[in-house]
């Protein structure tokens, strides 16, 4: 999935978790601009993203998730890695 396609999905998930309408969450939204975005809601957001995209974040990555845009980039990269390693395993299985 491209970054352009990813961003609205991440915004929607964040809007759900923080209980906000979709247009209240933008790419630039961060814990500074969203009142509910405290450390516990951050964990809930992480869980919601992991379920939605079937990925698992490392502790280092969780600390980097400071804006919605940054999160979308990270999710996109992780999905690409999952995709690559899946392709790798499949090709190995075939050979």
């Amino acid at each position: 999935m491209t970054f352009e396609a990813m961003l609205p999905r991440v915004r929607q998930i964040a809007a759900d978790v923080f209980g906000l309408p979709l247009d209240a969450v933008t790419g630039q939204s961060s814990p500074e601009t969203i009142e509910n975005w405290d450390s516990l809601q951050h964990v809930t957001l992480v869980v919601a993203l992991e379920q939605a995209f079937t990925i698992q974040f490392l502790p280092e990555e969780i600390a980097e998730m400071v804006t919605i845009e940054r999160i979308a980039t990270l999710v996109e990269q992780k999905q690409a890695v999952v995709g690559t390693s899946l392709a790798y395993h499949l090709s190995k299985a075939r050979s």
Partner: protein
């Protein structure tokens, strides 16, 4: 329907003020995709809808040794769709002992209805988790005893300070014991030590009323120990459960919250063709349907076995099927593979009418609400019809593969029960016997003939320790024939029995078709020359048998023995107890006063007598007899 489409429909339904429909769409969203983001969305919408819906409120306090907060939206959404408005309080991180022991703690200030003690082996007894190879057998034994002593202290403190229910997690076993396979070859290995603690917890829960054990270790095992955990997050922010595990823990909590809030199904209504057996009996005939020990008939055998387990748990069974009645009943009665037989079913609606209509008839016949019914049918169109036209009925979604039917029923939290009295175990049978009584009544010439033909026997006795739990259950669950609807716990009843002015009566009842069990209770309080009936109730399954007259007759007899001159009764109206409104009037009481809250009635014991109906053979075990 996709989650996006469902959300659009929810929005539309709220705009059109069709709130029940909005709630149904939200429930569907949670069934189809129970993720954290959907759950958060569902919670926000339900908070808007709350004033329009009749929800049961429930305050849940989770005392924990680890980060569990992300469970909140999942748990609240699951509760909302079950008709429960849950307020969730999470105890201070790892401060569960202080919370439990300190009477002024935030836990008790929250005044929970349900407390959950969610602690991990790694936190509550770290030595048995990752330092166990340092320990000798004696030290391990001491750890087991010490841990159980701690749990006893916490549970007993909670019991003293709160009347809430308490759910205690068992401790989980390690995926890999410290000594590897050697652990299972020796006495007092790591696994055995933890299992001993869990065993001890089971006894502790049994000793303390209102305390229940949640088998957390079994839950983890069911979903796969290695998949359950997220080791990175356990080590970094102390959140051990992986993102996908949280919904399963929320569902496990719901298995307890449903019976504790009464949001359960009393009856299961089942279809026949392709649900209890494979194929259509009308087309393939008795010999053609698939049912028995060989695949694919064995899938239906397992389904029936799972349904029989529910019957033994006290769930009432009924059949709703589009078939020719004779053919279908012949298969139920005679097919060699049937586990369930006609005597297990309390009602049959086997005809070609709409199932919605038949479900209404079954509810009427059993005298239970539609909201107490769960519906099992392999046909998605029938399920959808029931869901849209009878939103109160709980519709169970069966997967396409019949091999999974039994598991679907086992997973379903609608049938969970936390205590099983002898009455509960027999409930399915009582209702099936009621069907035979109804058939007799249809054939009787007069009501009196019918009563006489039932050969009814009542036994009325003063309550003791053995009958108090059932009497408490009756005061809490009886809504219809209940004159004052005063709810009492077993502890409160025990206190009342110690009061010399108070007498608690109970009544067992049976007839030629079977035993109703303990179905009636009354509490009387003497005051001067008056004897006031504080509570008087009759289980709905015994309504319409004149059993209430027998019980009232014994009350008046006892009051006379206790030298009372007047019997005083109150009728306090509720939404559901209209059936008891004229009870005192029809038994010769006179109305003394009527106010908004209820009416007061008196019976002059020197002027008349209340007699046991001639058709009831009544054994009385009263004081002074």
């Amino acid at each position: 329907m996709s989650p996006v489409e469902l959300r659009d429909l929810v929005g539309e339904a709220i705009e059109q003020r069709t709130y029940a429909r909005a709630a149904a769409m939200l429930a569907q969203l949670m069934r189809e995709e129970p993720t954290t983001s959907n759950a958060s969305y569902v919670v926000s919408r339900f908070e808007e809808l709350r004033p329009q819906l009749e929800l049961k409120s429930c305050r849940v306090a989770i005392l924990r040794s680890f980060v569990i907060e992300p469970i909140i939206p999942l748990l609240r959404a699951r509760c909302f769709t079950a008709g429960i408005d849950a307020t969730v309080h999470i105890g201070t991180f790892n401060a569960y002992p202080q919370d439990l022991l300190d009477a002024e703690s935030p836990l008790y200030r929250f005044t929970p209805d349900i407390g959950i003690l969610a602690v991990r082996t790694a936190d509550v007894v770290p030595a048995l988790w990752d330092q166990v190879s340092d320990l000798g057998t004696e030290e391990i034994q001491r750890m087991v005893e010490g841990t159980l002593a701690d749990f006893r202290l916490w549970i007993e403190a909670f019991r003293r300070r709160s009347r809430a229910h308490l759910i205690v997690h068992t401790l989980e076993l390690p995926a890999f014991p410290a000594r590897g396979v050697l652990d299972s070859q020796q006495a007092f290995g790591q696994r055995e030590a933890i299992q001993r603690i869990n065993h001890g917890l089971q006894y502790l829960a049994q000793e303390n009323p209102g305390t229940y054990l949640l088998d957390y270790d079994a839950l983890v095992a069911r979903h796969g120990r290695l998949r359950w955990h997220d080791q990175h997050r356990a080590l970094s922010i102390r959140m051990p459960i992986a993102a996908d595990g949280l919904i399963h823990l929320a569902d496990e909590y719901l298995r307890f919250i449903r019976p504790l809030t009464g949001k359960i199904a009393k009856a299961l209504v089942v279809d026949l063709d392709n649900t209890l057996w494979g194929g259509a009996v009308g087309e393939e005939g008795l010999d053609g349907i698939q049912l028995g020990t060989d695949y694919p008939g064995s899938a239906y055998y397992s389904t029936q076995r799972a349904i029989l387990d529910l019957y033994r748990r006290g769930v009432i069974l009924a059949i709703c099927s589009k078939n020719n009645e004779d053919e279908a009943l012949e298969a139920v009665a005679k097919h060699p593979g049937m586990v369930l037989r006609p005597e297990h079913f309390a009602a049959f609606q086997i005809n070609w009418d709409a199932k919605v209509e038949n479900l209404r008839r079954i509810a009427d016949e059993l005298d239970i609400g539609l909201d107490a019914i769960a519906f099992l049918d392999d046909n998605p169109a029938e399920r959808e019809a029931v869901r849209s036209q009878l939103p109160e009925v709980s519709v169970i979604d069966l997967p396409v593969d019949p091999v999974l039917y039994a598991q679907t029923l086992q997973e379903c939290s609608l049938f969970e029960r936390l205590a099983l009295s002898t009455e509960d175990e027999k409930r399915g049978r009582y209702y099936a016997e009621q069907r035979l009584r109804r058939e007799l009544q249809r054939g009787a010439r007069s009501l009196e003939d019918f009563y006489v033909s039932l050969q009814m026997k009542a036994e009325i006795l003063i309550a003791d320790r053995s009958t108090l739990p059932r009497i408490a259950q009756l005061t809490q669950k009886t809504n219809q024939f209940n004159l004052t609807t005063r709810r009492r716990t077993e502890q409160e009843l025990a206190q009342l029995t110690a009061d010399p002015q108070v007498r608690i009566f109970c009544m067992r009842f049976n007839d030629r078709f079977g035993d109703y069990g303990l179905v009636g209770a009354a509490i009387c309080r003497s005051d001067g020359d008056g004897c006031e009936i504080d509570s008087f109730l009759l289980s709905c399954r015994a309504i319409g048998r004149t059993a209430e007259t027998a019980l009232l007759a014994c009350l008046s007899e006892q009051a006379r023995r206790d030298s009372a001159a007047r019997l005083i009764g109150w009728y306090l109206p509720t939404k559901k107890n209209a059936v008891a409104r004229d009870f005192y009037a029809t038994h010769g009481f006179s109305l003394v006063k009527e106010e908004a809250g209820g009416s007061r009635w008196e019976f002059d014991l020197s002027q008349g007598e209340i007699a046991v109906p001639s058709w009831i053979d009544c054994a009385r075990h009263l004081v002074g007899l």
